[in-house]
Symmetry: C2
Subunit: 219 residues, 2 copies
């Protein structure tokens, strides 16, 4: 029942100030990424990571607090890049079908990428234990993608290129259609990834199908 006598000035995840520090920080993140995505969170020990990155265990704990902290930092670090560059400035000047094709192609290429697949697997697996992580991953990745498409559709509705529709729902449906079973097949590593041509062919067909359906049934 003793009090907590100055709890050691709480040293939480610390961003490094010095040059060498930054270097180690990055090296640790990079090693964590490689190993976590290769073997999975619970199959990698902190010692493995230090062995891979160089540096010392103490530094790892000073920077990231604990193993989960490192994992989270890694996921955030990557999520930022991974789903970026999906927005394009000239997207509004394209015909609708071309715009949809571009969205779909960007998504599908990302979704077939080894690194993105690894993160997806890990986040899905850990999400029940780390809901914060799940939310951040979704918002930075798939959720953002859907939002971008939704807002695109909103503008097309506004300028009468499309009939008034439930853009949020339709954006999700379109992206889901593009992914289809391909995403799961890659997640489970059941087949070799499709070629760029196969991807483009699929996306083109999806865009056509989708727009065809939209014209008929405005809702």
């Amino acid at each position: 029942m003793s009090d907590s006598p100055l709890p050691r000035s709480f040293t939480p995840p610390l961003s490094p100030t010095t040059q060498r520090g930054r270097k180690r920080h990055d090296a640790l993140l990079e090693a964590a990424q490689r190993l976590f995505l290769e073997r999975g969170f619970s199959q990698v020990s902190v010692n493995d990571i230090v062995a891979e990155a160089g540096g010392s265990l103490s530094t790892l704990y000073r920077h990231f607090g604990n193993k989960e902290g490192l994992f989270q930092a890694m996921v955030e670090h990557r999520s930022h890049d991974i789903y970026t560059a999906l927005t394009a400035d000239d997207i509004d000047s394209l015909p609708v079908e071309a715009a949809l094709t571009r969205f779909g192609s960007g998504l599908l290429h990302k979704a077939m990428d080894d690194e993105a697949l690894g993160i997806y697997r890990e986040v899905v697996a850990e999400s029940p234990r780390q809901p914060e992580l799940a939310r951040r991953f979704f918002d930075a990745g798939p959720g953002r993608m859907r939002q971008v498409v939704k807002e695109y559709l909103d503008r097309r509705v506004a300028d009468r290129s499309l009939p008034p529709v439930d853009t949020a729902a339709l954006a999700g449906m379109y992206l889901g259609m593009v992914l289809g079973e391909w995403h799961l097949i890659q997640l489970l590593q059941l087949e070799a990834p499709p070629s760029a041509e196969a991807i483009d062919a699929r996306v083109t067909r999806c865009a056509t199908l989708f727009l065809g359906g939209l014209r008929d049934a405005p809702d």
Copy 2:
């Protein structure tokens, strides 16, 4: 460097013969299911499972060989049930739109189900380490669903209800569209599951959209 002197007559996963044996076998499977899906494979110890199921550690190892064996047995056991009852005898007598709606609704209800989500999470997470498991899950579950829809579309093409199309690809696209982002949102537990009405509404819209698109662009 000694030889292996009769390697103990290899006692691999053993199916129980006696009544009591069967009971324990089932109890172990059920406990494994509950715990694995609740906490994840690596978060559950074999002792936990025995504590939950009753019986003894020895029995578990006699029946399933090791922890992974139990996990695999559990996944197979469940995969069989989970995606069953998707085929219906009268499906060919329905209008195409109604048939698609039924497929979609069945899928979406399953995909929103806690147990199915748990298995999906675990299989995705473990697939890099257990490719056999991944294949079996896919074939028994999502892959079978796609196959059923494909064959349905094949029959509609044959009887000219639909134009000649790439039925395999389209089946995957349709199911993907139905799932859309909803599946991921449930996997990550970001929102409460949708109501039955919401599911039906979404599926109806998907079926309409899909068929509309098909009529326009036969390909």
